[in-house]
Symmetry: D2
């Protein structure tokens, strides 16, 4: 067994694109429960109440919906340098350094072969309450507790037409580990769940054939309890948000989930993994077959059709 790399600390933030900026921003702040850290001409910088960084979701005005870039934070300046070298040696397309953004310092950008832009950075701005009302009552939480709001960024799910190649991309550039995967009868990988730390996954990639390039499946924030998700279902219902599927429990990863579409059509999830962590340093991927998948989710719910087709931006054929 080669030793596992620990150069990447965690998923840092995700840039989500919207062609209905005002409605999307209202959803993420008023209904989904994220806080606005800052806003500039093109984007809103948002975070969950216990995210320690300035922003974990960057919502950007754009001609389409979808994902702008996915950012991971390195474990140290030295770790960042090691990862940059690994990316440059990987042969995957390098975009190069940016000066950073509101909330974090210099970032090194690169891309997967499927149209997704990634960046890695180390310097970051820890969130500082701007007013008393935002200050946490308990000094070990990042900001004021809010009952209807998710706690922290959890993971992002991307689409690609060759998950095996995407796996090579994640292992080579970020040193991610695969914790679970779907082995299709045709020998291909239907989906792959990755992590860089003890989380059960921080990024998932599922297969789509020629429907699009660089598409987003969903972005997810974590709640403390399953009850928070049951409550959120009533809040989404009350606010006329399209509930796609759930609440229910995934067979893969055992995550309790609820999927909705924000006004612009991007899929967002609320999830709770309970006490599940991947602690074993020598964890081997759990492999699911098509036969097992046909049983539906953990408690028998059939996966809804749109879950296999809807991504953002919409595929040309969806128009």
């Amino acid at each position: 067994m080669t030793e596992r790399s620990n150069d990447i600390a965690h998923l840092g933030h995700v840039e989500v694109l919207t062609d209905r900026y005002d409605e999307s921003l209202a959803f993420f702040t008023n209904v989904y429960g994220l806080s606005l850290s800052a806003e500039d001409a093109t984007s809103a910088y948002l975070r969950a109440w216990d995210d320690y960084e300035f922003a974990t979701l960057k919502l950007t005005r754009h001609a389409t919906t979808g994902v702008g870039h996915i950012a991971y934070r390195a474990a140290s300046p030295e770790a960042l340098a090691r990862r940059v070298a690994a990316v440059e040696a990987s042969g995957f397309p390098v975009i190069g350094w940016t000066d950073g953004d509101l909330g974090h310092g210099p970032a090194f950008r690169f891309a997967d072969p499927f149209g997704h832009t990634f960046e890695i950075y180390y310097e970051t701005n820890w969130y500082e309450p701007q007013q008393e009302a935002e200050r946490a009552a308990l000094k070990n939480t990042a900001s004021a507790y809010r009952g209807v709001a998710p706690r922290r960024l959890d993971h992002v799910n991307l689409l690609a037409d060759d998950v095996a190649e995407f796996r090579r991309f994640m292992e080579t550039t970020l040193g991610s580990r695969v914790t679970e995967m779907i082995a299709l009868d045709n020998g291909r990988i239907g989906g792959c769940w990755f992590t860089v730390n003890n989380k059960t996954y921080d990024l998932a990639c599922t297969e789509e054939h020629g429907r699009g390039h660089g598409r987003l499946h969903h972005v997810t924030y974590a709640t403390d309890q399953r009850e928070d998700i049951l409550r959120a279902a009533d809040i989404f219902l009350q606010n006329g948000v399209h509930i796609e599927t759930g609440p229910h429990k995934h067979a893969i990863q055992g995550t309790f989930f609820l999927y909705v579409w924000e006004p612009a059509g991007n899929r967002v999830e609320l999830a709770n993994a309970g006490a599940r962590l991947i602690l074993a340093p020598d964890w081997e991927p759990v492999v699911w077959t098509e036969t097992e998948r046909r049983k539906g989710q953990a408690w028998g719910l059939k996966t809804i059709d749109t879950f296999h087709t809807h991504g953002t931006p919409p595929a040309p054929k969806d128009h």
Copy 2:
């Protein structure tokens, strides 16, 4: 900032001593909900339903109650070798290699200055269901789900009369990080919470003065939801188990907790941390003052007196 070591993967198991073996074993299996993996002349080897290793709690017949040893699993054979070298160079007392035990391979033993024995190992036996009824319905969980049982080992809390020195011990030998701590007005450290991974803590050490040596404060298993702990409170009540304090929420670490005493008197806890993880690679310890501690727990519960005095084995003056 020196780079964080990732040589130690996680807390592996804790050996708990009992002078009422039969009653303790009945409690841990019938009420607390652990499963018996094996039993020999001196000990019972127990695990929670989703612990991946053969055993996470070793219950041993002894003249007293208390803790036998605390075991951490290394991230790889190379990491184990690095840690052994670090321990040998640390000057802390070395006990040396053992052939291992039911459930794991060779372990390197050493001690802190406060009477606690530690060991680190890499080779382990992954739990394998011995009969169909033990097999999990979902292949990504270790064994059959049981509704009244905790999910996995969470942490252990030890007592020492010099927490600053114990901190040096943990940082030097295991490369642990401090996530939260209590700074007493007299300049001493009242308590320290340590982690080797993304868990908020896997070991805590609190100060006691001359009451004993090598004493245990408590051992804790994690539940998936806070509701599991509220339910457990009714189960403990129904079974006549001494409920010491809780359910309530700790200010430090924000853990939802319930403390009971198993029949022999060892304190055991059920805890739920929600979605809280320490993801920041540059996390700085949260420091709590005595003034802040006087406010009691998160929701105002005054800490019960026995929590400051009861440890196992009982202090001489307790007899």
Copy 3:
């Protein structure tokens, strides 16, 4: 407004028929979590941990599955006499008095036009623990708390081919009130939810056309919390029980539900209504249209086909 009758106190027990007695009994005691109060040559008498009566579910060996009889307890001997007079005056078929059964005294039996037998009684045997282990730790609960078990009988759902007539039956014989109902576009009543007290419903009747006579749709027990139902889903999954649909929230009545089939095929539900009660003495039925029903359940789940077809005993055409 005519004054509401309060002669009937509550749904007392339901007799469920099984052609796989041993497997059904094992399910209700080991998995569903009911306690066995007594057993005779033909039946098992079961109750939930906080049902105050000797039995709330009578499981009877039979050539088919289905429902034997539905029993309501009167509020007093005088109220029982008033109800008997009302039934005799109603024109609905009278079966007459029985000497009672294990658990209760004399019962007056009658039938609806759709093959279901009802009985009303007043004298009942309050449950008395037979051994210490069954005694509740809290004197205001009926028996020992059990974490994986439902708390009390909640309601029964019957099938009939004329719900309007069944409504007349319930209002005339038991003085039940309708709290919610489905008005079909064809002018018929698709379903009706009844109560005799402050529960939102204790009996529901849904329409089926010529599939059978005297059929049962399901029997339901109540849990204290929604979390109990999420946990039960994992327990059913672990025990290979057929989960038909849920957990999810009904739009009608807002009940959080989970439906499974016990080994003989009878549908049983676990439900939680939260704090919802019908307190208004002048409550008017909430009427749902077919258009509203097409939106599915509260959070959008489409009602599964078998929910509209599966009843017990199976309809001839199902063979």
Copy 4:
């Protein structure tokens, strides 16, 4: 057994007095989560999101804190007439008819011997959403679901220096039943829990000796789940609200509770009774002895001192 009266349907509303009106109103609307139905020169009319009546809490500007009056809704005009006759025949002080109030019609007022004013009424204004945002997504709930808000009025707790006499008052005037009570070693009744329907209690009375007259112990709203109360604890903590005791489980009635003081000092509770109801028409009061009370609450929490002394308005000796 005399037949139980069902003339009174349920507890309708409670008038709470405050000498810090603005702060109290901000607490009840912004933190506790009630909605403002109307406001006039002296009072604010508030309701929980699923209360069907126009108002269940009337918050009134006053020279002191405490309770203004307690109102019960009759089951019908005829039932109201019967109750008025019963009150007039009872010998307890009659105040007479009022024209009613915002939200309800004519009310008949009378008093207990301990300084509390009661009223009974039948005509009431059902809550009608004034704007779309207040309309419930589900037509069987009274108004828009709000995640951090209690669901409905649950009960009120009064103080009196002769609980036995207060019991006679409740049984004679309202036909209430006692479900649980505390029998003191000195032969007196320490506390009594009453209900007029299937709720386990809608009014409690506890003994105090000469500390005051017509005092309020607390007013309580019900939540759907225990998790709502755990969440509320964090919300109260975040908002600097004084948390007096809880969350924990009462031994008496088994209610899961959390007590806080609103800014003016009135004690308000959030409670969850799970699926517990009093369905038995012949339920006998559960009697608790002082010895049993000394064990503390269900899970061992010692009752906090202020719970035995703090009432509103404050007793003279408290100044």
